[in-house]
Each structure stands twice: as structure tokens, then as C-alpha cells.
């Protein structure tokens, strides 16, 4: 399923301050969008996509927003643009955040993400969208997050040009 969001979805909407007092990702998964879109945490399934407008993840730096969505097993977030801190948090946790304008996508459209060729197929609408994904994001995703990459290869691993 695809979860469609408007512009400027802030991290207070993803993990609201009053509920954001958990240090267990599974519990955080349950509070995702709990006030803004209560059906989200009940219906979200592994492999679902989030498709959003501009400036997704703006506002507070709280990493729980990313940890919560990752724990919901969201496959990738597509947004017209991301807030900088949110994007870095996604990199560190290996949650795919892909800047793209996908045009009209239905809630139930069948999407297939081909990371190797950086293409998104919309099987329902018979559309093929070429994606631009920075190498660091793909590297981070494959490692399960930049933190794990750093742990294994040290800080040099993320410097440009360094192959790991």
C-alpha cells in the first residue's frame, strides 16, 4: 500500500512529543502518526511506501520519527524534497529516502522498486520512473545504515570516492 502525504509533514506529526517517550523501536512504531492519521499504525504493512510532497520530516530533529517509520517496515519514502536532518537520520538508519516527483500515485497502485537500476515501476499505471539516488544512500541502505558502515570501516568509509 502507498501512504500519500501532503507538503511539510513535520516530525511532531510522525512521533508527537507527548508519546515520544519510548526507547523501544517497536513501541515507537505504534505511535507513528497516532494523532494525524490514526489508521496508519494499525494498517501499515511491511513493504509499504510513503509518498509525500515537499519538505518531508521538517521541524524537530527527533530521530524517533525515522526509527518509528523504519520499525513500521516502510520500504522507502519518496518525497519531492526532504528536510536535511530527517534525511541524514534516514541515512544513519538505512531507511530509503528518495527525492522524486512521482506524479499521481494511487493508494493501491502496485509499485516495484528496482534499486540496482534506480527505476520505480508503477505496474497499475504502467509507468516507469527513473530515479536519482545518491550512492551514499544506497550504500547506507545495503549496510543497514551508515552507523553500521562506520562501525565496520571507520570514518573514512563515508568520505567521497572511498570504496567499501
Amino acid at each position: 500500500m502507498n501512504w500519500i502525504f501532503k507538503d511539510n509533514i513535520n516530525t511532531d506529526l510522525i512521533t508527537p512529543g507527548r508519546y515520544n517517550v519510548e526507547d523501544d523501536p517497536k513501541k515507537l512504531a505504534k505511535i507513528a502518526f497516532c494523532e494525524y492519521l490514526p489508521e496508519f499504525s494499525k494498517k501499515v504493512k511491511e513493504g509499504d511506501f510513503i509518498i509525500a510532497g515537499k519538505n518531508f520530516g521538517c521541524g524537530s530533529s527527533r530521530e524517533t520519527a525515522v526509527i518509528s517509520l523504519k520499525a513500521c517496515k516502510i520500504k522507502a519514502i519518496f518525497a519531492k524534497s526532504f528536510n536535511r536532518i530527517f534525511y541524514r537520520n534516514c541515512l544513519n538508519h538505512g531507511l530509503l529516502a528518495i527525492e522524486a516527483n512521482l506524479g499521481k500515485v494511487g493508494k493501491k497502485d502496485k509499485l516495484i522498486l528496482d534499486l540496482k537500476n534506480k527505476i520505480l515501476y508503477n505496474k497499475t499505471k504502467k509507468k516507469k520512473i527513473k530515479l536519482k539516488i545518491p550512492d551514499l544512500m544506497i550504500k547506507s541502505y545495503l549496510f543497514g545504515g551508515l552507523l553500521l558502515l562506520l562501525k565496520k570501516h571507520g570514518f573514512e568509509a563515508i568520505e567521497k570516492g572511498k570504496k567499501v
Binding site: D12, N20, S61, R62, N89, G145, E159
Partner: protein, 416 residues
Amino acid sequence: MVGQTIAEKIFSLHSNKKVFAGDFVVSNLDLVFSHDTTTIWTLSPFYSLKKKVFDTSKVIIFFDHAFPAPNIQIANFHKKIQKFAKDQKIKILKEGICHQVLVEKFVKPGQLIVGGDSHTPSCGCLGALAIGLGSSDIAIAMAFGKQYFFVPETIKIEVKGKFKKGVFSKDLALSVAKILGPEGANYKVLEWTGETISKLKISERMTLTNMSAEMGAKSAICPPDEMTEKFLKENRRFFKFEKMRSDKNANFSSILKIDASKISPLISRPPEIDKVFEVKKIEKEKIKVDQVFIGSCTNGRIDDLEIAFKILKRAKKIKTRLIIIPASKKVLLEALKRKYIEFFVKIGAVVLNPGCGPCLGRHQGVLGDGEVCVSTSNRNFMGRMGSPKALIFLASPATAAASAVKGFISDPRNFL
């Protein structure tokens, strides 16, 4: 040869090479900080990387977002963080909002700072480059003393002209937010310059660098000058620093020219920062106010309390719940000395301990369904201060105080 912006100069100094916007750098950090909310998610990533922080004198933790603990969960978070700080031999400061205490005691012009809080750019009021990061990025910074960045482009905001009566730096910040919107400065630095800025006190500049985060800015900076020098001396901090400027031939991504004399008292309507209107216009709607909050890293300083005091003194009575929170212990002590606190308490305000207070809806003034709050803080998102059905209007301390007196959103010029 192309010149550099201040941001490019600071990145160059910390990356051991001359760099420009768009360059990828690994930079050495002068200061790394986090607070009671974000540190909890720093602990496990930190220990996955290193056993000890890179330099115990350059890492600071603040308890400000919910201190003293309002519930058991947060009390247990505090315990975990205290153990971490003890094991690492690093300081935990519990004397006010991180950004405020940093500016009073630690920040130096030209520094590169990272903080586990989105309002980290606040420290730019002293001419440092301070960048907000998430908890795991702070773990990396604490472990290695460096971080990776793309050197950001800079938007120059040139401000001239004098503020009219009833207009403050918060109104200037809101007028720029209206132009840039919540994403207008994403990945960029906002450089606040011009004759108006050079006359603003550090506390007023801090409102601008703080609010820059609401436009998505990676950082914000006011060029360090005589006013910076004066502030540091007043805070008993004596050292020499370079009065760094952007070169005349530096590349800016854009230049925004603002005439401060044309700004009126402004207010941001929920739920987004750029829904900015003149207070005079909103006043006509007679919006009943339940709570007024004067405080936060945006507007919780002594100058802010002074404005509130002047307005409240004239009226002597309030018609709303009024919560006043000095941003730091230093501000609280000064407000006590000036007898502001005594007066606030006498007229029925609730004065609370230095910290973030109700800004993030955790404690100390959570809003109920349908309640209206006029707040001097920086975010009016749905549910930010409590019920998702509450409405948060953002304004200057003057507008907030005027609204507390009238009981509805009110123009401060009625009292000045």
C-alpha cells in the same frame, strides 16, 4: 579569485582546505552537544562506535526539554543519561535551555558546532556556525570529533531601517518566514546582515538565528562585531576573535533585502510558520486566548521579559493563563533582581524553572482541546503543545503580553 561566505570560511578553517558551497568535507568540531530528549537515542549508536568521547571538554549534555522529569519514563531516561555522562566524565548542565546557556557560556565566534536539536543554529548569533543533527549523527560526532557535510550555500538577508514602535526582532523573523516559507532555506545558511542587524543586541539576534531553523536553514549566522565583543565582555568572557565577514565577491545563492521600518507587529497562524499576518488584522477577529506563553529559546531572555513587564505593568491585570519561563538561570536571577518575577507572580502569572517549558507539549502548560495559545516560541504545528485540536499563534513577547491583558489576540501598540 572568487571570495568566500562566512560559512565557507568557517568550513575551510575546520577542514584544512579552502572549500566552497557544494564541496564534500569532513570537518573537525569545536563543540558537540545534546539534551535530555535526543541523548537517549545517542547512547547505543555511540557505544557501537567507541568506548570514550573524543574530548570530554568538548561534549556537553543539557537537561532542559523536560526537567525535572514530569513522568517515570522521562525520569528513567534522565537516569540512563546521567550514567552515560558519569562514565564518560562529561558535564550535564541543568540551568536552562541548551542554546541559551551555550551562548552565555561556551560559544565563540568562528566555531563549528553540532547539536542534537533542530534549533542549534541559534548559536550563530555570536558568529559561530552551528548545525542541528539527529541523535545518531551526534553519536558519530561524540565518537570521532568530526562529521561529514556538504558545504552549504548562503542566503544573505540584508536588513536596513529602524523598527517602528511595537516591532521587535521576532516580527522581523516572521516577516522573513513569510517570504521563505518552511523550506526556503533548506540545506542553506541564512546570513543576517545590514545596518539594522549591526544595531541589534545578541539576544535579539538570537531570535533571528533561532527562527532560521523554521525556514529549514542548516545554519544561521550574524557576522561577529562590536556588539558581539560587548556581549562576551558582559558575560565575563575575555578572548580575542576575528571579526569575520563574507568577502565582497562571495557567491550567495540569493540576497533578500528587507526594510525593517516597513514591518508591523506580526503573528503566525497555525499550523505552519509562514501563515503570517499583521496582528492589527487578526485583532479584529477577537480570537479568545486561553494561554499565553512567554519563554523558549526564541524569546525567553531578559529583554523579552522586560518588554512583557512594561506592557503588563501598564495594565496590571491579566485575562488568560500566563506562563513565563526565563530561558536560563542567569536570566531568572536577573529578572529576580529587577523585581520582574515578583510582579509577574503578583498579577497571577505562573513562573516556572528555566527550560523549554510547554513549547514541545511535554509538561508545564499542555493545551486542551480547542484551546488557543499565543506563544513566543517557534513552532505552531498541530499537536505541538498538547491537544491536536489546540491552536498555537506565534508572536513577539510584546504581542503575547498584550494578548494576556486583553484576553484576545491584541496589538502591542495598544500598550506602548
